[in-house]
């Protein structure tokens, strides 16, 4: 883990000239501080009243202060103190925080309770205020500085690490290890600690900058090193009254602190980004304003024309930053959905079936792009459509129901709001009729009228999927895209939702593109099926024909894989 972190850092640096400059600067500074007695022979505390407040020169690289002391020497020797205190404080804080956090998190019980109370109380103070109070009561000096910083900084670590530990302890592999009878010390060492090193290192880096800031703030306030000895924060304090005459006295220590803190924060950012692994899918690009090309009106579903057709659709990963760049997701896929028809799209994971569903809504995400063929809605090629064109179609003519009802609804808005806003966005229902339409659609999907004022977390999974269906059909669209709508539900709910979609399809005259990996589900709802494998259409036909006599070996293999066809030999009942 630690070596992976270093590797990631190194890789990030190679692409990042600014980071290299920063690293070089701060590296030089730290090295100079460490080697201060060799680099400069000047005593940082030697006063020379003949050379007071001299500007930077060949002799005094950073000028002199109001006692005639060399600012460069003071900067280097001061850095030893500032950075040394920070290093010691980080180690103390991490030590206490890590042990307390892991012990409280893994063992729980009384230890957790006591530590928790202590942490709660210490965190009821603003950090810096408590540090100032502790340092002030102890009377200043380096030791009290370190104690003050450590006392206020460890609780935050302990609390975060406790949460991390709890999370890791609930991971499947720790549960498995407990079942396997692995001794506790080996679970803690091999599983918990090993998986915590990354977060711990990132945390340490993230807070290093804050600790240095807090330390220099305390010595700026006069709570650090005793006067003649140099320290960055106190140097700045000494210089600020003279800033008009001798700005170097403020700039030198100020820039030094700034540089060190900046690099700590900068590299912590990189480290965090590399370990957290930001979602590959960024948010979709809907913010950039686009002028509608042709606001499409889809005809009412009476014609025999296909409502949705895919013609030789090819989709690739095109973003060069994606590790899968160049991978083909869909290869010349062609099929169509006619009015009032339900087409079942079958495929295993990785077959590209969800990509097809997203294409039909114009919701393909950035690393993916249509590189060949066309998606037609009511015979109109959608290739030139911009976000605003699609916006007029989505929710109005095409509705979407997707896999996970638990995450498909906004947690902070009421059900009624979330259904009504679809009507408000499209003006398909006159303002006066909206309340009535809301009641009707809630009833159509089999929900009690009282759900309108509820929040999503108050409903079960099956009820939430009904809400999603209501949102999709409230404007009476012509086409419904159902992407694995029942996968996250248990058998009984699944069957009711399937029957609901089938019945609503008839009641509303909907065309449905129904995506699923489960052949039993497709067989129940679809008129025609399309079987997809690794981005290609393997077989199509009416449901009855394909299931009665599958032509392709892959289709046959899929069917043979449906459980329930073999029987375990039964022992004789006694």
């Amino acid at each position: 883990m630690a070596d992976r972190l270093l590797r990631n850092l190194a890789a990030a640096l190679r692409r990042d000239p600014l980071g290299c400059v920063l690293l070089a600067l701060v590296g030089t500074l730290v090295l100079l501080c460490l080697l201060a007695p060799i680099v400069t022979r000047t005593d940082p505390t030697a006063t020379d009243f003949a050379r007071m407040l001299m500007p930077p020169s060949a002799e005094n690289w950073l000028g002199t202060d109001d006692f005639g002391r060399d600012v460069f020497a003071r900067l280097l020797f001061g850095g030893r103190t500032s950075l040394g205190v920070a290093a010691v404080a980080v180690m103390i804080v991490m030590g206490i925080g890590v042990v307390a956090g892991i012990v409280a998190g893994y063992f729980g019980g009384a230890v957790d309770l006591v530590l928790g109370k202590l942490i709660d109380v210490l965190m009821a103070f603003p950090r810096l205020v408590l540090a100032i109070a502790v340092a002030a009561l102890m009377g200043g000096g380096i030791a009290s500085l370190i104690v003050a910083i450590s006392v206020v900084a460890w609780p935050a670590y302990a609390r975060i690490l406790r949460a991390f530990t709890l999370q890791v302890a609930n991971e499947g592999y720790v549960q498995a290890a407990r079942t396997l009878g692995t001794p506790v010390w080996r679970i803690l060492g091999g599983h918990v600690a090993l998986n915590l090193i990354g977060p711990i290192l990132v945390l340490a880096m993230l807070d290093l900058g804050n600790l240095i800031l807090a330390i220099s703030a305390l010595s700026f306030l006069g709570l650090g090193v005793a006067p003649p000895g140099p320290e960055w924060g106190s140097m700045l304090n000494e210089g600020r009254a003279l800033i008009e005459i001798a700005p170097w006295m403020v700039l030198a220590p100020g820039m030094a602190i700034f540089l060190v803190v900046l690099s700590a924060n900068y590299f912590a950012d990189i480290a965090r980004d590399s370990t957290e692994g930001r979602a590959v899918h960024g948010p979709r690009d809907w913010i950039a304003p686009s002028r509608p090309v042709a606001r499409p009106e889809l005809p009412s579903p009476n014609t025999k024309e296909p409502l949705l057709s895919f013609e030789g659709v090819t989709v690739d990963v095109v973003d060069p930053r994606s590790p899968y760049c160049g991978r083909r997701i869909l290869q010349e896929v062609s099929f169509w959905v006619r009015p009032r028809e339900c087409v079942g799209l079958i495929g295993e994971s990785g077959s590209g079936k969800s990509t097809l569903a997203m294409l039909a809504m114009g919701l393909t995400r950035p690393p993916l792009a249509l590189t060949g063929g066309a998606v037609l809605l009511s015979g109109t090629n959608t290739a030139a459509w911009r976000w605003d064109d699609w916006r007029g179609v989505r929710g109005r003519h095409v509705g979407l129901v997707n896999q996970d009802p638990l995450s498909a609804l906004n947690p902070v808005l009421t059900i009624g709001d979330q259904i009504s806003e679809v009507m408000a966005a499209h003006d398909a229902v006159p303002t006066g009729a909206r309340a009535g339409r809301l009641r009707a659609v809630v009833d159509d999907v089999g929900l009690p009228a009282s759900v309108v004022g509820r929040y999503p977390h108050e409903l079960s999974g099956g009820m939430r999927q009904r809400v999603v269906i209501a949102m999709a059909i409230v404007n009476r669209p012509a086409l419904l895209i159902a992407d694995e709508p029942t996968t996250a539900l248990d058998v009984s709910t699944q069957r009711r939702i399937l029957d609901l979609i089938r019945d609503l399809g008839q009641q509303y005259g909907l065309s449905v593109l129904f995506v699923s990996h489960d052949l039993r589900v497709i067989a129940r709802v679809a008129d025609r099926v399309v079987i997809l494998r690794e981005g290609r259409v393997v077989e199509t036909g009416t449901t009855a024909a394909v299931f009665a006599a599958p032509r392709e070996p892959y289709t046959r293999a899929l069917m043979a894989a449906i459980p329930g066809q073999h029987r375990q030999p039964q022992p004789v009942e006694v």
């Binding site: 103070f125 603003p126 950090r127 810096l128 205020v129 100032i132 102890m138 700045l236 803190v261 806003e421």
Partner: protein, 320 residues
């Protein structure tokens, strides 16, 4: 809602009680005898070694309430505090409560103005950063955050004074000389905490934007404004508010530093003046006041939090 508020208020009271115990114990667990330390500081440093009389030390110990068994000391001390008596300053010989009271408005004004500055910077920065993630606007806003987070506020304050007060002479540099005096201190304090908030808001908004419910909202054909302000921003504020005690802590801690830089008439500077004289009762009184303010602010945030997030139960926020 009412039960929630009552429960949070009870939790805040418990925290407050805890802070009094900590403040009480701090003075008693530091190495050495506080009374001796105070007397040594009060003596003229140039006078050389002077014998402290035992009688003086014992008199001061009695005044500081350091005699008798610990629980009794605590109860007596708490009794005085509940009666509104924080003790007497060792230097000015005035009641601390009165001295604090005259300085509290200064600190509150600074804190409020800085919060305003913070929101005015953090919200646009965070929102634009997330919406234009990976593009120049985002890089710019991240760079601003990084700079704001890394510049020590005492350094920034000194620089701002130099630039706007001494060089350009646009604004007053020190103390309270009219309403425009607040500008520089509030800018100094506000920018530092704005960086943290902007960063939090950016990452939580990015998370929210890639949630499945945002895809669903887009699939409903909603307008940009509705997607951003109604669907994305509100859930994105929840983690920001959860982390608000970090920001509030930075605000109150930073206030002490900024008040020192700008000679601002607030409780922070009062405290720093007291440190030099080892005025222990003042240090205790100040710490208690700041902790109380912090707890009250956190309580207010808790209530706002509940208004934003309908899911919150009282148990959920225990231990992060």
């Amino acid at each position: 809602m009412l039960t929630y508020a009552v429960k949070r208020a009870a939790a805040a009271l418990v925290a407050l009680l805890g802070t009094t115990v900590v403040v009480f114990l701090l003075l008693r667990i530091i190495p050495g005898d506080p009374a001796t330390a105070v007397l040594l500081t009060m003596l003229d440093p140039g006078a050389g070694s002077v014998e402290l009389s035992m009688a003086d030390i014992e008199a001061l110990q009695a005044e500081l309430g350091l005699t008798g068994p610990l629980p009794v000391q605590y109860l007596e001390w708490m009794g005085e505090i509940l009666r509104g008596n924080l003790g007497t300053s060792l230097r000015s010989r005035q009641p601390i409560m009165g001295e604090l009271a005259t300085r509290i408005p200064g600190t509150l004004t600074l804190a409020a103005a800085s919060l305003g500055v913070m929101l005015a910077i953090a919200i646009p920065c965070g929102v634009l950063g997330a919406l234009y993630a990976g593009r120049p606007t985002d890089h710019l806003s991240r760079a601003i955050s990084l700079l704001g987070e890394s510049l020590p506020n005492f350094f920034l304050g000194v620089l701002l004074v130099y630039l706007f007060a001494l060089w350009l002479r646009w604004l007053p540099s020190m103390g309270w000389q009219g309403p425009d005096s607040i500008v520089l201190p509030a800018l100094t304090l506000g920018t530092g905490i704005a960086a943290t908030t902007a960063r939090l808001l950016r990452s939580s908004l990015l998370d929210t934007l890639s949630q499945p419910f945002m895809l669903m909202a887009e699939a409903k054909g909603l307008s940009r404004g509705r997607l951003l302000f109604r669907h994305a921003l509100r859930p994105a504020l929840i983690p920001v508010m959860t982390a608000s005690s970090l920001v509030l802590g930075g605000l109150l801690g930073g206030a002490v530093v900024v008040e020192t830089v700008f000679a601002w008439p607030g409780v922070g500077r009062y405290m720093i003046e007291a440190i030099a004289g080892r005025d222990y009762p003042v240090i205790q009184g100040f710490t208690l006041f700041m902790a109380t303010l912090f707890i009250v602010l956190n309580f207010i945030v808790d209530i706002l939090y509940r208004l934003i997030d309908p899911r919150i139960r009282v148990e959920v926020r225990r231990h992060g």
